[in-house]
Amino acid sequence: GAGVSQSPSNKVTEKGKDVELRCDPISGHTALYWYRQSLGQGLEFLIYFQGNSAPDKSGLPSDRFSAERTGGSVSTLTIQRTQQEDSAVYLCASSLGIAGGLVQFFGPGTRLTVL
């Protein structure tokens, strides 16, 4: 596609439920990133994938968070047993690689609300 797409755009769930957020990166981009944007906060890095390498999970806040990337393209971020503090906008970005300076292109985000 022309840009990074994410689905759903909005997700409301109940505390304790699992949610899956999807990201379709720009075709040909080998690097894919997930960030979290909480109210009044900047973007918090969660995880990134580069090609077939093991993902860098250093930003995941707890073991309730996981992500996978199938076929080097689409990625799914899963949050298990959601908590109210997980409410945020989850942004996905992709780039041609992870070399410094390569521009990251962002999707519109998924707004997650945990009741």
Binding site: V4, G101, F105
Partner: protein, 117 residues
């Protein structure tokens, strides 16, 4: 520690007035610097970036930014603000082999810009 500070949470300027948004960074190596803009309900759009060379960089929508190594700053400027510039602006830093980890960028908390008619 690597970090980005945007000291102003919210700025209001009149349409047609000049604008400067501040950004200071802490980074152990040569930084790559970015400014992104986020309009309500939208993702982040890149305004401009600095990698090397001329310290004054031009971006889209009439924005420019100046890299000052001695001050660890990368302030964003625009000579005349338009109502459509109302949005949130984020400064970010990365490095030759990526940002805080390897590939990710480190973002400031953003500055919300309001424009008065």
């Amino acid at each position: 520690a690597q970090s980005v500070t945007q000291p102003d949470i919210h700025i209001t300027v009149s349409e047609g007035a000049s604008l400067e948004l501040r950004c200071n960074y802490s980074y152990g190596a040569t930084p790559y610097l970015f400014w992104y803009v986020q309009s309500p309900g939208q993702g982040l759009q890149l305004l401009l970036k600095y990698f090397s060379g001329d310290t004054l960089v031009q971006g889209i929508k009439g924005f420019e930014a100046e890299f000052k190594r001695s001050q660890s700053s990368f302030n964003l400027r625009k000579p005349s603000v338009h109502w459509s510039d109302a949005a949130e602006y984020f400064c970010a830093v990365g490095g030759p082999s990526g940002g805080g980890s390897q590939g990710n960028l480190i973002f400031g908390k953003g500055t919300k810009l309001s424009v008065k008619p």
